[in-house]
């Protein structure tokens, strides 16, 4: 209602206090103790609950990634590979599956995961051989160690 003069404003009191209180209490109904009934305690608890949930949304991403990494590590150790070797060799073979997918495949598609582990192992061995080279000296090098043939 429109209160047209100052005396009317000063004499006005809240008429929808019940609904304002219920707006807060509805989020606290499943809490334990008096904070699910008493507004003063509920306000503080609900505020903390909201802040914790906003922060937890960021933490959830970190936690889930750590969980996936643990699962992939366990599965790749079953196939004789360590996690860093597995992931790096998969990326070098241009397989762009992310950790969520690899963890799901390790749980629900074991044969596919085994083939991925074999692929990573083969790429690892090829990498080692490429790094070792021929095993011969480069030409034109005059080394200081003398052989007596």
């Amino acid at each position: 209602m429109v209160l047209l003069s100052a005396p009317r404003w000063l004499r006005s009191r809240l008429s929808d206090r019940f609904w304002r209180v219920q707006e807060v209490l509805k989020y606290a109904r499943h809490f334990r103790g008096r904070k699910n009934r008493c507004y003063k305690l509920a306000v503080r608890s609900v505020r903390r609950a909201f802040v914790k949930s906003t922060k937890a949304r960021k933490e959830k991403k970190r936690l889930l990634r750590a969980l996936w990494i643990t699962r992939i590590e366990a599965a790749s150790l079953e196939h004789g590979l360590k996690y860093p070797a597995f992931i790096s060799n998969l990326l070098k073979s241009q397989v762009e599956l992310n950790r969520k997918m690899l963890a799901d495949l390790a749980i629900y598609e074991p044969k596919t995961f085994k083939s991925l582990a074999a692929l990573a192992q083969r790429r690892r061995q090829e990498g080692f051989l490429a790094a070792l080279g021929d095993g011969k000296e480069p030409e034109g090098i005059f080394s200081r160690i003398v052989h007596h043939y």
Binding site: S53, T54, V95, L97, K100, D104, L105, Y108, L129, S143
Partner: protein
């Protein structure tokens, strides 16, 4: 005595040089006689031998032929695919439900084709894309069932003793 001194010098030389030296020292030692196997005769990593490339190429061709025959004959049961969609990767089969946090320019009931397929697997074979599989090879289709909004998520920030609190409601389109 001279032979023993030469062998010792060669063993000491191996300490300074890398495995590149290893072959030359072994060949000269084999010419002299048998040398005992020490911890430094071979490198500490296990020796890796790849199979013969020609035989391997034959084996690969056989496997590919088998898989192609299986696909042509339709001898696969349920297929699953790993698809990159809405900036996430999903593992999907037929009759699967997906919920994505995004707006699609399709109406409810439209058929959608998902083109970025990373992996396709059946019971007996898997096709791994590097990184994607060809569009002629796999076809993944889906139907848009509903377009809704999420429940109002609340973002709240609060600093104690500083009289600072902000509350915002966020509804995502799903």
């Amino acid at each position: 005595m001279a032979a023993a001194a030469a062998a010792r010098r060669r063993a000491a030389a191996f300490l300074f040089s890398s495995a590149v030296r290893h072959q030359s020292s072994q060949s000269t030692a084999a010419q002299e006689g048998l040398v005992a196997k020490t911890s430094l005769t071979s490198p500490p990593w296990p020796e890796v031998k790849l199979p013969d490339p020609a035989e391997e190429a034959k084996y690969h061709a056989e496997v590919v032929q088998k898989v192609n025959n299986m696909i042509a004959a339709g001898q696969y049961g349920r297929l699953f695919a790993v698809v990159h969609f809405a900036s996430k990767q999903w593992k999907i089969t037929s009759e699967d439900l997906i919920m994505m946090d995004n707006v699609l320019e399709a109406e409810c009931g439209d058929r959608i084709r998902m083109e970025k397929v990373l992996l396709v697997g059946a019971d007996d074979f898997t096709l791994i894309g590097r990184p994607l599989l060809g569009k002629e090879l796999v076809r993944v289709e889906a139907t848009v069932i509903e377009k809704t909004e999420s429940w109002p998520k609340i973002n709240m920030r609060f600093w104690k003793r500083h009289n600072y609190q902000r509350k915002k409601k966020q509804t995502l389109k799903r």
